[in-house]
């Protein structure tokens, strides 16, 4: 049986359809779950929080959504070992909910994806490379070593910030699953387009069942929207950033 994945929609979410579509194309039974249907979330095997501007980014990006009733089910699920992936605004929500990096209490964030160094929204192509061992984060475990994953950075608040000592801890203990890379695979911190600490693009938790990733792999994920589309390939077939979603679905199938 296919894994049942809930794609959560808060007021202000805007990337639910492509996120659902890619999960389906990667083999999951993914459904969009609206905020008025929060009670149904307990029946799902995994959760994906897509991009957008939940609750208008009031206070801080993700701050209100982290207190939404939908997060009760997500927090409970994550603590029980269910897989949870947040993309862009979804990642911000997971940090505000204390699920990633998960080094503090629930709903008491220890780190944030906050305002870009340039002070405004940016939309540009980026490359990501996993910089932790495959076993560190189950969701990213099926990715080949050193693979460069294409994605789009499209956010106003994507710069990882925390107390300096805590940032060093996150770096040292393998919480930073993906970093911004160049075409040669280098991951110098300056490659982060918004000045993210340690060049961080994604964080996991201690257990490795939560992934909070700022750039959007699902926007460069089929041949038709993939930068390096090959001539003669099926334009509707998954490619590019879909490898991360495939890895997510593979992890679910192994449960």
């Amino acid at each position: 049986m296919k894994a049942r994945v809930a794609v959560l929609v808060f007021p202000g979410t805007n990337s639910e359809e492509e996120t659902r579509d890619l999960l389906v194309d990667c083999g999951a039974d993914a459904r969009i779950v609206h905020w008025s249907e929060a009670a149904s979330l307990v029946y799902y095997d995994a959760f994906v929080l897509p991009g957008g501007f939940a609750y208008e980014d009031r206070i801080r990006a993700g701050a209100i959504a982290a207190h939404d009733a939908m997060l009760d089910a997500v927090i409970e699920g994550a603590q029980a070992g269910k897989y949870v992936m947040g993309i862009c605004n979804g990642a911000q929500i997971l940090l505000e909910a204390g699920l990633a990096p998960g080094t503090g209490e629930i709903r008491r964030p220890t780190a944030a994806f906050t305002h870009n160094a340039q002070g405004h929204f940016i939309c540009e192509r980026v490359l990501l490379r996993r910089t932790v061992p495959a076993t560190r984060c189950a969701i990213a475990a099926a990715l080949p070593e050193n693979l460069l994953i294409p994605a789009w950075a499209a956010h106003a608040q994507g710069r990882l910030a925390a107390a300096p000592a805590h940032l060093d801890e996150l770096d040292r203990d393998g919480y930073i699953v993906f970093r911004y890379a160049d075409a040669a695979g280098a991951t110098d911190a300056h490659l982060a387009p918004q000045g993210s600490a340690h060049g961080a693009a994604a964080l996991t938790n201690r257990e490795g069942n939560v992934l909070a990733i700022m750039p959007h792999p699902e926007r460069d994920a089929w041949n038709f929207n993939h930068l390096d589309r090959r001539e003669g390939s099926d334009p509707l077939a998954p490619s590019g950033g879909s490898v991360l979603f495939k890895s997510f679905v593979t992890a679910l199938e192994r449960l």
Partner: protein, 781 residues
């Protein structure tokens, strides 16, 4: 914002205007005191038709409805000259948006809804809010056709933004921030746009907006009460009505005055993209409910004229009158005056006309399932009236009738006949090549760094180009944006928006023709077949015979070019009274959007060079006409002719380029526009840099000796045309396909050295890129 509003200075005891008792001078004085833009003769005709003194509510209603913005009174007769019918036209320009046929997928016919508007005056006065509500408004125009909103685009014209011009710079930044804040939040990708900087827009920027939607042609919802719609309920949806945007339609219909700019700020609406995001998704749910039940409804955006304008047009378009109860409107403030509730232009509102049987369920979707009242203070869906068989438009307030007029008199066409002065004849073509003492090298760098040529990335990187995941080619990677809107289908569309103000200043008719030609050329350059057009006519005052003459010439140019290319206009907008307080108008600015169709998106062509050893061909001719070019403006050349459009040749060229693209023979393509051929070639080389690859160089070994014009015209002229890259293995097939087409010539090859080599010159691509990529970074950091 209540009785203290600058637009309202009367005590509530005097609620009608005794038109018959006043002489012209006194009437004008009273109308001015009320903030009415209606003319004295218009006021008299209202009183005569009503056979009584009109109430204030009625006056504000006519003021909005008969404004230039709503009635097109100066332009409607001209607009009849534009072609509006064609094989791909599903719906022409009669409703809130037009529809073009995209293609079939799994037995369903799909249409692309397209709307084109301006938000020029609001963006000048309050740039952030003005530009944001421009996006907000155009998105509603598309949504209300029953469509899913899939893309926006924004042609922009800013003033001169040199250092020290803080006001113009702040306006430009505010506009870009407003577009980004709204479009990004609602999750609609920004697919296309263009941008010019010119001192003639210092006091009056242009902010045009285009929005696209996807709809099954069998599921279009019209902007009218259906034929059987007597007693249909009028259900208002959205933000609580407040005092913002009162007088918006009239404000857009008069020239801007710097002194009044401050007091006009109240006429600009307040954007709420967060609420709009939820309203859009809730409306999609309502669309599926109506489909399931097989219910025909009417749906319309609240724009100019607010509740009154929308309900009157929705009902009269279906052949009905309307009764609306202003007391049932959800308001943000108590004690709003009835005219403010009736004609104020609070954002984020739409109006349904629905049969009684479905109203409760629709209300439940908006108010409970999508919890509008929790999303924004007192936002909701609420019944406000009904469509009536009686041909009257009636408004009630506090239990009394405050407006009761024949509906066709309110919404019917008012037309002004205006004196026209034909534009000065444009300069003639030169017989000799241009003599210029400056070096190609020096000019090349200056042109690359010119504000109308240099990279737009610092601007458009503020916009989300890829939300929804269906963008095939984002801005900057080809001449037109391309999107595949239907999951599981290879169908795609291409969009380009164009209009060159440098030509507008010289030759209003040809500026319109070039806007059409360029938008079509850009769509062709990505391998898409052009299927339809929209236009936004941005001009000065119709009360100035010369400025009005530019509008007349522009419409003629648009009509002629579209007929020549065999295309129709399905949507459009007219924005008049654009200019400086001293009466100096903006350059004639017809702005055209072209929609193209790709039956298989794998045939689309991007701009960056793809491989070494390819052959570069120029498809097009160079003319000894630098009028409107960047080179002419840098060299301050007067008396230059604007390039002619040799329609037969160009149509044949486009047919050829499309055939080559669909046969997979084009590795890359880029049109020749601002800055000319050398800029086109340089940008094709830069493409690889954006993809983080080593740039591919160009050797123009085939360039010498073929051009009919001189060096400067050939390098920097803007006569149009398209440069294409053909792989060595495809050259034979490509040339065979070109056949007898004379205007296809090989001009060079791609090389491994990162150079652009021409005769004795060899420019480093990286140096050229430095000149081109940076100029806008300081304006949009």
């Amino acid at each position: 914002m209540l009785c203290s509003s600058s637009n309202f200075r009367r005590g509530p005891s005097l609620r009608d205007l005794k038109v018959a008792e006043l002489d012209d001078e006194a009437l004008r004085e009273q109308a001015d005191a009320l903030g009415l833009a209606l003319r004295v003769d218009e006021l008299r005709s209202i009183a005569q038709r009503l056979e009584r003194a009109p109430s204030f509510v009625e006056l504000y209603a006519f003021d909005a409805q008969w404004s230039e913005h709503c009635s097109y009174k100066s332009s409607r007769a001209l607009l009849g000259r534009l072609p509006t019918a064609g094989p791909d036209v599903v719906l022409g320009p009669a409703e809130d948006a037009g529809i073009l046929h995209l293609g079939e997928h799994e037995g369903e016919r799909y249409g692309i809804v397209i709307a084109h508007e301006s938000h020029n005056h609001p963006s000048q006065v309050v740039p952030f809010e003005g530009a944001a509500t421009g996006i907000g408004g155009i998105v509603r125009d598309v949504l209300c056709m029953g469509a899913e909103v899939v893309a926006v685009a924004d042609p922009l014209r800013f003033g001169s933004v040199d250092s020290g011009r803080e006001h113009q710079r702040a306006v430009a930044r505010g506009v870009v921030d407003g577009i980004a804040a709204y479009g990004n939040a609602i999750g609609v990708p920004n697919l296309a746009g263009d941008c010019y900087f010119d001192g003639d827009f210092d006091d009056n920027v242009l902010v045009n907006v285009v929005a696209l939607g996807l709809v099954k042609e069998s599921e279009v919802i019209h902007s009218r009460v259906p034929r059987h719609g007597e007693n249909f309920v009028l259900l208002l949806v959205g933000k609580a009505t407040d005092a913002s945007g009162f007088g918006g339609a009239s404000f857009s219909s008069v020239a801007l005055d710097a002194q009044e700019a401050q007091s006009n700020k109240g006429a600009v609406q307040v954007p709420d993209p967060f609420l709009k995001n939820v309203i859009m998704r809730a409306s999609y749910r309502v669309f599926s409910l109506l489909r399931e039940r097989g219910i025909e409804a009417g749906f319309k955006d609240l724009g100019a004229g607010g509740i009154m304008g929308c309900s009157a047009e929705l009902c009269s378009a279906g052949g009905f009158g309307a009764e609306v109860d202003l007391d049932s409107v959800n308001v943000a403030l108590d004690r709003l005056l009835p005219e403010v509730i009736a004609v104020g232009e609070t954002q984020e509102r739409l109006l349904w006309a629905l049969p009684e049987e479905i109203v409760d369920e629709v209300e439940r979707i908006y108010n409970e399932e999508f919890s509008l009242p929790q999303v924004a203070q007192n936002a909701r869906a609420v019944r406000i009236g009904r469509a009536t068989a009686a041909q009257r438009y009636q408004l009630r307030h506090l239990g009394e009738i405050v407006m009761d007029v024949p509906i066709d008199f309110l919404t019917g066409s008012v037309r002004d006949t205006l004196p026209v002065e034909a534009p000065t004849p444009p300069p003639m073509r030169r017989e000799q090549d241009l003599h210029c003492k400056r070096s190609l090298d020096d000019l090349f760098h200056q042109i690359l760094a010119h504000r109308d040529v240099c990279s737009r990335a610092p601007l458009y990187r503020h916009y989300d180009a890829v939300v929804r995941g269906r963008t095939v080619i984002p801005r900057g990677e080809a001449d037109a944006g391309v999107m595949a809107p239907i999951r599981g289908s290879r169908l795609a569309f291409a969009l380009s928006v164009d209009g060159n103000p440098r030509i507008g200043r010289l030759d209003p008719q040809r500026a319109a023709e070039h806007a059409v030609y360029e938008s079509i050329r850009n769509v062709v350059a990505v391998g898409a077949e052009p299927i339809g057009l929209t236009d936004c006519l941005n001009y000065g005052s119709p009360r100035d015979a010369r400025q009005y003459g530019e509008l007349v010439a522009g419409v003629d140019g648009l009509a002629r070019a579209a007929r020549d290319f065999g295309l129709a206009y399905v949507s459009g907008n007219v924005s008049l009274y654009n200019g400086a307080p001293n009466g100096h108008a903006i350059p004639a600015s017809p702005i055209v959007a072209c929609l193209g169709r790709l039956t298989d998106l794998s045939h689309c062509v991007t701009l960056p060079l793809k491989e070494i050893g390819s052959h570069l061909y120029l498809v097009g001719e160079t003319q000894r006409a630098l009028g409107g070019s960047v080179l002419a403006s840098i060299l301050a050349l007067a008396d230059e002719a604007v390039p002619e459009i040799d329609i037969e040749r160009i149509v044949a060229e486009h047919r050829f380029v499309l055939a080559a693209a669909s046969n997979g023979l084009l590795r890359s393509a880029h049109d020749i526009s601002d800055g000319g051929l050398f800029v086109t070639l340089a940008e094709m080389s830069f493409g690889a840099l954006a993809d983080r690859r080593a740039p591919i160089g160009i050797d123009l070994d085939g360039y010498a000796g073929w051009s009919a014009a001189g060096r400067f015209e050939s390098a920097f002229g803007e006569s149009g045309g398209i440069v294409v890259e053909v792989a060595d293995r495809d050259v034979e097939r490509f040339e065979e396909l070109a056949g007898a087409l004379e205007s296809v010539r090989e001009i060079g090859t791609t090389i491994a050295e990162p150079l652009l080599a021409f005769e004795d010159e060899a420019w480093e691509i990286a140096d050229l890129h430095r000149s081109w990529s940076r100029p806008l970074e300081e304006l949009f950091p």
